[in-house]
């Protein structure tokens, strides 16, 4: 249990570290003409201009190119299988685009999206509440409950929810909510706790109410860390949605499973390839969100 806590934490926080490292990689230029007064000591306070540039980092441009290349390769491979020829009925039926692959893709994405949305709606307010002085002492307890969700084997968790809620898409979504709760909850708490205390004190000292300080200072400054957690949750959910078929939740897991059972490698490959493309696309969207939802100036 504690092991899982250790492995996930750095994962989410590493992302933040990587982003900030990218920011400081912007070349700094020294500007000597910043101050207008005439004292000689101005040389001593000549500021280093570290204005962050809004240029897109290379990775954000390269990732979609790679994803498109992968999709093209998969499409060429798919066409080369000659499914229309009628030679391999099993293959043709398992890989039928409009009957199997497309609906499964939609299921896969909606499972991941819905579970992530619900996770955010639960974990962010909970994280905010648990960092308020009145509820702070419950933080560790709630975190360890959220930890259970992630520590349980995914299969076990799905079966547990199957027993509780029966078969279907909703069951999968709720199971994934529990599974992906931890990174968002913890990043929300870590993000809010990480906000520079004097900054909050300065705001309160100028007469901001607690709510104003939360909305205008704490949350905006915690946004990068929170989004990193949401991104992690999203990736977990995209991957986990592949197991949805186990309890009748649909998704591309069906195709992959058919490929395994029928020993049809092309079916397996197309199914896995689609999952990979979806996962990479969402990870890219997450990176874009991290970059553009981050408040300016930090």
């Amino acid at each position: 249990m504690s092991d899982s806590k250790e492995t996930d934490g750095p994962n989410a926080l590493d992302r933040v570290a990587i982003i900030s490292a990218g920011m400081s990689g912007v070349p700094a230029r020294v500007n000597h003409s910043l101050t207008t007064d005439d004292d000689a000591t101005d040389l001593a306070v000549a500021a280093v201009d570290i204005r962050p540039s809004r240029k897109r980092p290379l990775g954000l441009i390269l990732a979609p190119i790679g994803i498109i290349a992968l999709a093209t390769l998969l499409w060429i491979y798919y066409r080369s299988l000659g499914l229309d020829s009628g030679d391999n009925f099993q293959q043709a039926s398992a890989l039928d685009w409009s009957v199997k692959l497309w609906p499964q893709t939609v299921e896969q994405v909606s499972i991941a999206l819905w579970s992530t949305v619900i996770v955010v709606l639960i974990a962010v307010p909970a994280g905010i509440a648990l960092t308020r002085p009145a509820l702070r002492r419950y933080g560790p307890a709630v975190l360890s409950i959220a930890n259970v969700g992630q520590a349980l084997p995914a299969y076990g968790l799905l079966v547990l929810f199957l027993l509780l809620l029966g078969q279907g898409l909703t069951t999968v979504i709720w199971a994934l909510v529990l599974f992906a709760l931890l990174p968002v909850l913890r990043n929300t708490m870590v993000g809010l706790d990480g906000v520079d205390k004097p900054t909050i004190e300065a705001g309160r000292g100028m007469g901001m109410t607690k709510l104003q300080a939360l909305i205008r200072i704490e949350i905006p400054l915690a946004v990068p860390v929170i989004i990193a957690g949401v991104r992690t949750a999203m990736i977990i959910n995209i991957g986990m949605a592949t197991l949805a078929f186990l309890i009748g939740g649909g998704g591309l897991g069906i195709t992959i499973n058919s490929g395994l059972k029928l020993q049809q490698d092309p079916v397996l490959l197309v199914g896995a390839g689609l999952v990979a493309i979806i996962a990479l696309s969402f990870d890219w969207l997450g990176a874009v969100a991290e970059r553009y939802l981050k408040p300016r100036g930090i």
Binding site: V45, E201, G205, M206, I298
Partner: protein, 389 residues
């Protein structure tokens, strides 16, 4: 409290839950309108706590706080704080807001209209020596420490509060910039005349910034509260004396100027005067030294009778006697004058006017006399206080 009181603390006490001894115990303090009162004391004496009790960042456990005669012990603390400027050592600028938005924080909360806010922001940036067009839209991370604290002060002045609380505002800034910010702030305060409570642990900063200084001991008890001059001249007790540290007499010399002294006159002669007349003046004056002046009446060398009897005159005299090493102007502080005197081999400093012409000389006796006078004055002040109470 009297009519000049802006903030009045009456037996204000703070006891933290779970603690036996109070952090601040029955503190009664009067802060006059338009003064800088410096709270100074060793770490952990409760000076910051005291400051934060005034704007109720910390709620007092007992006592009353009057604000311009109004009891603010029970008003909404958020509204109270919007009337008080607050500057902290860590500055605490909002990194995600532009400089202009940072400064506009309180005006926005008070609902000023946009035009008024924007002209106020420009005005404050200007006052702080930061060109508005250049700095308005920047973010705090682009500023140096000194610039950031200027914005911090500008932000505290945002809604033009009557009172400012400053918690070691220049504590984290390098010495050169700190000195400069202190001077700038004193210049600003001379114009603005805010009522300021200033916390520091640095006695030198307290002496420099304070109109009055309150030296606080444990539990924020006032050990001595007075002008820096009087505290330096006559520390109330051993605690205060220890806290001021060695050199309190020396520090007191910062407040006295050469112009207040009765200077010693010395016989002088110009370079082109005949040596004989110089010798006559020297003998008539009964002084040991004569001061040789150049054609502009600027001091050049100290000469003794023996030097004048060598039979040389004019420029030849320049090889003899002592070179005049220390010159001070009349508005110099006695502290700087003493420094000059120590550099001089004769132990005295020549006082010159703005054009460098000799006016008189300062001797060590002048300084000891001033020090004695300061102490006597302080003593008389305290005696009269005791007599009247």
């Amino acid at each position: 409290m009297d009519a000049t009181s802006m903030i009045h603390l009456d037996r204000v006490t703070k006891i933290y839950p779970g603690s036996e001894t109070p952090a601040v115990e029955e503190l009664t303090l009067d802060i006059h309108k338009g003064e800088i009162l410096v709270l100074v004391g060793p770490s952990g004496c409760g000076k910051s706590t005291t400051l934060r009790l005034i704007n109720r960042m910390i709620e007092p456990s007992g006592g009353t706080i009057l604000f311009d005669g109004e009891d603010v012990t029970n008003v909404n603390p958020d509204h109270l704080r919007r009337r008080i400027g607050y500057v902290i050592q860590q500055i605490g600028l909002f990194p995600h807001h532009t400089i202009a938005d940072n400064i506009a924080t309180v005006p926005k909360m008070l609902g000023w209209d946009k035009k008024r806010i924007s002209s106020r922001v420009d005005e404050l940036l200007d006052v702080m020596g930061l060109e508005p067009s250049e700095y308005r839209d920047r973010y705090p991370r682009e500023l140096s420490g000194g610039q950031a604290q200027r914005v911090g002060v500008a932000r505290a002045l945002g809604a033009d509060p009557d009172v400012m609380l400053m918690d070691e505002p220049f504590g984290a800034i390098d010495p050169i910039t700190r000195d400069r910010l202190q001077n700038e702030f004193l210049r600003l305060q001379a114009v603005l005349g805010k009522t300021i409570v200033f916390v520091t642990h640095d006695i030198d900063e307290a002496i420099k910034m304070g109109d009055r200084i309150a030296i606080l001991g444990e539990r924020s008890t006032v050990r001595q509260i007075d002008t820096p001059e009087r505290i330096l001249a006559l520390p109330a007790d051993e605690f205060v004396d220890d806290f001021i540290g060695s050199g309190s007499t020396l520090k007191g010399l910062h407040f006295e100027r050469v112009s207040g002294l009765d200077l010693t006159t010395y016989p002088t002669m110009a370079l082109d005067d005949p040596v004989e007349s110089g010798l006559t003046t020297l003998q008539a004056s009964r002084q040991e030294w004569l001061l040789l002046l150049d054609s502009e009446r600027r001091p050049v060398r100290w000469l003794r009778a023996g030097d004048l009897k060598r039979g040389v005159s004019g420029k030849g005299l320049l090889q003899y006697g002592q070179h005049v090493r220390s010159r001070v102007e009349e508005n110099a502080t006695l502290h700087d004058t003493l420094e000059e005197m120590l550099k001089s081999s004769t132990g005295r400093a020549c006082v010159v006017d703005a054009r460098g012409r000799f006016v008189g000389a300062v001797e060590i006796g002048h300084l000891t006399e001033v020090i004695r006078r300061l102490r006597d004055e302080a003593q008389a002040h305290y005696d009269s206080l005791e007599g009247s109470s």
